[in-house]
């Protein structure tokens, strides 16, 4: 236990010594504060703690869905674009050198000549490197939690689901970086390959979601598309599912199955954050009681789209990917002569 605490503490010291970590943390705090500065009055919305105000019929404190909309801003904009992209990228740049430096001759020798198993050493070093994201997202969520609580008097602890989810997403990318570091001891190569895998995974998920939308959601919205001419017509009648695109979707889904679901896992946050027991993907539940059948069916199609992958599928396939990659890295680390 003493050895594990030592490695974790050293990881924190390493982070604290990196300027990029503090820059990244400061930027995250700034983004969270900007989000927290958005306020709602009876007639509209204000930003930067009331410095600028706009009248708006939808975004105001009278709207019963205001908490839902405020949280959607968090789950659909702030989390995917800041925490899910920029903050993760900065975190990856911050820690991608940890393993290559650790594995340098003269450095690794000291660590593995101690009475601690190589597996414990590797796993602890790997997990403690995730601290960078844990700290960032925790600070971010705390500010958002306080903002929503103080503004809307809703103390929604489900916001903190962002911490394990985003750390999990980071661990998926970081595992690739660690594997490359163990194989090559090169910081640059481990960063580039991790980014490449991240890009491929992101591209495949975006393709899958667009094809799903075209095959299922667009027809449900009464839009008929002719893929040959590119013409589209909209009516208030749902159309048939596009069979060709549905087939293509099945192929894409099969292709992306073994890849880590970085994007889908971040959007999983919408299923984990709840308001009055209902998660943010259950859009039909948030609709006006006056909505007609067509609007209800459009909303249901959107709900189906957001729930097309089960949590077990997203987490399970991603975890399988991570376990394979990290086991391979661990095996190489343990078997290697230094």
């Amino acid at each position: 236990m003493r050895q594990i605490i030592t490695i974790i503490w050293d990881s924190y010291r390493l982070l604290a010594a990196k300027k990029l970590f503090w820059v990244s943390l400061a930027l995250s705090t700034l983004v969270a504060l900007i989000y927290a500065s958005i306020g709602f009055g009876p007639d509209g919305v204000s930003v930067l703690f009331g410095a600028y105000e706009w009248e708006n019929e939808t975004f105001n404190s009278q709207n019963p869905l205001m908490e839902y909309l405020y949280l959607l801003l968090f789950t659909n904009v702030v989390v995917p674009f800041w925490l899910g992209w920029f903050a993760l990228l900065l975190a990856l740049i911050s820690v991608c050198s940890v393993f290559p430096h650790f594995l340098q001759n003269g450095s690794i020798d000291v660590a593995i000549s101690k009475p601690i198993s190589r597996v414990t050493l590797f796993v602890t070093k790997y997990l403690s490197s995730l601290l960078v994201v844990v700290i960032q997202v925790l600070v971010f969520c705390l500010i958002v939690f306080l903002a929503i609580g103080l503004r809307l008097d809703s103390w929604n602890v489900t916001i903190f689901w962002a911490v394990p989810l985003i750390v999990f997403v980071f661990s998926l990318i970081f595992s690739v970086s660690v594997l490359m570091a163990v194989w090559t001891r090169s910081t640059m190569l481990s960063l580039l390959v991790a980014l490449l895998v991240w890009g491929i995974s992101w591209g495949s998920q975006v393709s899958e979601s667009l094809i799903y939308k075209a095959a299922y959601v667009v027809p449900a919205q009464g839009i008929e598309m002719d893929l040959g001419t590119g013409e589209a017509k909209q009516t208030r009648e749902p159309k048939e599912v596009n069979a060709d695109l549905a087939r293509l979707h099945r192929v894409i889904k099969w292709v992306e199955a073994p890849l880590p679901k970085t994007r889908d896992a971040i959007y999983l946050l919408k299923k984990k954050i709840t308001i009055n027991g209902r998660n943010l993907t259950q859009t039909t539940g948030f609709m006006d009681s006056g909505a007609d059948d067509f609007d209800q069916s459009v909303s249901a199609a959107d709900e189906d789209y957001q729930n097309r992958h089960s949590e077990a599928y997203i987490i399970g396939t991603s975890l399988a990917f991570e376990l394979v990659v990290i086991s391979l890295a661990c095996f190489s680390f343990v078997r290697k002569d230094y």
Partner: protein, 296 residues
């Protein structure tokens, strides 16, 4: 590729043991095997009574690798405590020990500064301190004086001798033969992955022990012949007598005096560690002194 071949080595407890060898001889590989850093194809042996590779035994072992690198973001004292943590030394004990060790290696005034600000010699001192933090029964030091100034080397020798006096075993890998000669009780010479000589320095250099007599003027021809017949080598005005007992030198001195030969000096000559090393590794020409040291 075979780095080591049929290496057989015995290091008794409580000695300072030196492992010598040219670059690439396999010295560091041997130590890395003992430290479980490198896995041998086959290895039979014990260290501190346990089989080589027995992990809990490593808690009683200290190690300073060659070209050791420590985290630049840590201070000297923190490096010692970090290694103590990895070795499983309790936190309170590690704190006390780090203060003691900083003082022992002469870094008490620098322990609060970051490693990044240290010179090579200072880093090496911290390296030695971290190797001793778990109060090891045996410590392996791979090129410990690399980058250390003469004063530091002197202090280091003192530290190592104190460890030996406390019953600890010190295993040093070095190519600085003069350093080893001064402190080692026992040495082994390794070449191309094999141990080619092993024993105490006096044992290893005993074979080459002889007396040299320098004369002035010539030695009569008949006396020369008698001496050669008795096994004395004569080269110019120097006579080499392969004897270890000074008593046995007296008849030769008497014979020289009887023939009126003027003797300028007589000295005991013994092969130095450098000479022994050169001979054992066939590593080139001996140095100017001929790889020998003398006692007058």
């Amino acid at each position: 590729m075979e780095a080591l071949r049929s290496v057989s080595l015995q290091v008794p407890r409580g000695v300072i043991f030196g492992l010598l060898g040219p670059n690439g001889a396999g010295k560091s590989t041997l130590v890395k095997i003992l430290m479980s850093i490198v896995r041998p194809t086959r290895c039979v042996g014990t260290m501190l009574g346990e089989p080589v590779g027995h992990q809990p035994t490593l808690a009683k072992v200290g190690y300073l690798p060659e070209h050791a690198r420590f985290p630049e973001y840590l201070k000297g004292g923190e490096v010692i405590r970090y290694v103590a943590g990895l070795a499983g030394v309790p936190r309170a004990k590690a704190r006390v020990r780090s203060v003691e060790l900083l003082e022992m290696v002469g870094m008490q005034d620098w322990g609060g500064r970051k490693m990044g600000s240290y010179s090579k010699g200072m880093k090496q001192r911290i390296g030695i301190a971290q190797a001793l933090v778990n109060d090891p029964e045996i410590v392996f030091l791979d090129e410990p004086t690399d980058g250390v100034d003469p004063k530091g080397r002197l202090e280091m020798r003192r530290v190592l001798q104190t460890m030996r006096d406390d019953g600890k075993t010190v295993f040093i890998n070095s190519h600085l033969l003069g350093e080893l000669e001064m402190i080692c009780d026992s040495v082994a010479i390794m070449d191309k992955g094999e141990i080619v000589r092993q024993g105490s320095i006096s044992e290893l250099t005993e074979k080459s022990q002889r007396y040299e007599i320098r004369t002035q003027g010539g030695i009569p021809v008949d006396l020369q012949q008698r001496l050669i017949d008795d096994g004395v080598e004569i080269a110019g005005d120097v006579l080499s007598v392969y004897q270890r007992d000074p008593v046995l030198m007296q008849p030769i001195l008497d014979a020289l005096r009887a023939d009126g030969v003027i003797m300028v000096e007589m000295r005991e000559v013994r092969q130095s560690l450098e000479g022994l090393f050169m001979e054992a590794t066939a590593g080139g020409e001996p140095s100017e002194s001929g790889g020998e040291e003398e006692k007058r």
